[in-house]
């Protein structure tokens, strides 16, 4: 019993304010755009130089000059703007984004993130991740709470090569919503059917409590 990536995306979407400027990482985080609460409209930024793009076009109607950072086709909306890569990362690095939501291999209670390299073997690829973690006012992570073989992904210290130091402020996991405050994991929400002990057992650093822990309630999707 855990949230699907779609459900994690839904939960992450609930925290995005009306009018927020948001960058969604390649892959599952891209789904966040689909779940904007009624009456709120975020403005999405993609590293390759578009602000305020719309949803995917119908198949066959793609224009391959109009893609997002994941190389997927997107569409125009009233108010879309194009710009080059240096201006795009000025938006990122300059702190103009409100929220960035990224995937993760590991997150540490220090806020350190590892999401770009699984080690010295294979082909390393970093893309815009190292820039994004220093750019947005809030850097959130969307991730399964544990690896496919059941090992914790929320750790005291990351073991994989870092993407950034002390950069993550909130984790939307498949089991819980956890803030990172002052180098500690602070549990905000967890699945109601899951005990705190069970959640702690799947987390390799202490889950601190500040006030009540709400139930993590997500619709069937």
């Amino acid at each position: 019993m855990k949230l699907s990536p779609t459900q994690m995306a839904w939960r992450a979407a609930q925290d995005i304010e009306d009018g927020a400027y948001v960058n969604l990482g390649i892959g599952f985080p891209e789904m966040v755009a689909k779940f904007q609460p009624l009456g709120r409209e975020a403005i999405f930024h993609t590293e390759n130089g578009i602000l305020g793009f719309g949803k995917a076009p119908d198949p066959g109607l793609e224009d391959w000059d109009l893609i997002n950072a994941g190389k997927k086709a997107v569409t125009l909306k009233p108010g879309t703007a194009f710009f080059h890569h240096a201006d795009s990362f000025a938006m990122v690095r300059g702190g103009h984004l409100d929220v960035a939501i990224l995937g993760a291999y590991e997150v540490a209670e220090t806020g350190d993130l590892a999401n770009w390299s699984t080690g010295p073997k294979g082909v390393p690829a970093v893309g815009g991740a190292m820039d994004l973690v220093h750019g947005a006012k809030r850097v959130a992570v969307m991730t399964d709470h544990v690896t496919k073989d059941g090992k914790p992904k929320l750790l005291q210290r990351c073991s994989l090569p870092l993407t950034g130091v002390a950069c993550v402020t909130r984790i939307y996991s498949s089991l819980a919503v956890i803030d990172i405050v002052g180098g500690r994991f602070v549990l905000r929400e967890k699945l109601a059917a899951l005990s705190l002990d069970a959640l702690q057992a799947m987390t390799a650093a202490t889950l601190h409590l500040e006030g009540t822990v709400a139930d993590l309630i997500v619709p069937e999707l």
Binding site: D18, G19, Y21, E41, I43, H45, L51, G52, L76, K77, P78, G79, T80, A81, F82, F83, A86, D87, F89, A90, M91, V92, R93, G94, G95, H96, L97, H134, G135
Partner: protein, 244 residues
């Protein structure tokens, strides 16, 4: 999202005493005269804001716009490259009287420092000013055998900007060489307030033609037929007008 502001007074209402304010323009072109005058009006009515640090390429001309803001006594410090103009008497008297601090910055360095502020680059190296009085006290480093001066980013609390078209999302276009410092200052200020000749609906500005994307803009106020500083000065204008 609607970043439209109701009027000029509302647009400048939030600027506090002691703020650092970037003001767009190169001489009169691209200078947000109406926003500046609204800020002067507020100061004359309330005594605030005062003690401002202003960033602009110049130091005003005649007795309108930036010169009028200096003349009103609202400015504590000016960061600029070229405090000369056809009629620089306001700045010159205030500066020579020791009532205004001046930080003189080479023009390209000024532009790059502002861009750096907007782009999250805290420092960069430039050949400009190496070996001159304007490099005194700044770190020097040699790259590829050539010496360069380290310069720091420049940020502001507010930017007062003049653009041509704006939409409710804050997307902007400019008019010819009135572009100059304006797009850079939009990036470098925490709160960027823009006067535009016309507010158009989102989507009316071609996405290819947007010069400042709305992410850099917090407020847009429509100001049709904005004054040109040059025209005002040729007409001998003074702001605020002195009662005859």
């Amino acid at each position: 999202m609607d970043k439209t502001l109701p009027d000029l007074a509302a647009a400048v209402a939030g600027i506090p005493d002691g703020a650092t304010v970037m003001i767009g323009g190169f001489g009169g072109s691209g200078a947000p005269i109406e926003l500046i005058h609204a800020l002067i009006d507020r100061f004359l009515a309330t005594g605030h804001p005062r003690g401002l640090t202003v960033v602009n390429n110049n130091a005003g001309n005649g007795h309108v716009g930036l010169a009028a803001l200096i003349e009103a006594g609202m400015m504590a410090k000016l960061i600029c490259s070229f405090p000369r103009s056809a009629d620089p008497v306001v700045f010159t008297q205030m500066y020579l009287a020791g009532r205004l601090e001046l930080e003189l910055v080479p023009q390209g360095t000024l532009a790059e420092r502002i861009r750096a502020g907007g782009a999250g680059i805290p420092a960069f190296y430039t050949p400009t000013s190496y070996g001159t009085d304007l490099a005194i006290g700044k770190p020097v480093e040699v790259f590829d055998g050539r010496p360069y001066v380290q310069e720091r980013w420049l940020k502001a609390d507010f930017a007062l900007i003049k653009a041509h078209l704006g939409d409710p999302l804050g997307n902007l276009t400019y008019r010819m060489a009135a572009r100059n410092f304006n797009p850079l200052m939009c990036m470098a200020a925490a709160v960027t307030i823009v006067q535009v000749s016309r507010i158009v609906a989102a989507g009316e500005i071609d996405p290819e033609a947007v010069i400042t994307p709305g992410i850099f803009v917090q407020g847009v106020v429509e100001t049709p037929n904005p004054a040109q500083e040059e025209d005002l000065n040729r007409a001998g204008a003074v702001y605020p007008e002195v009662a005859a």
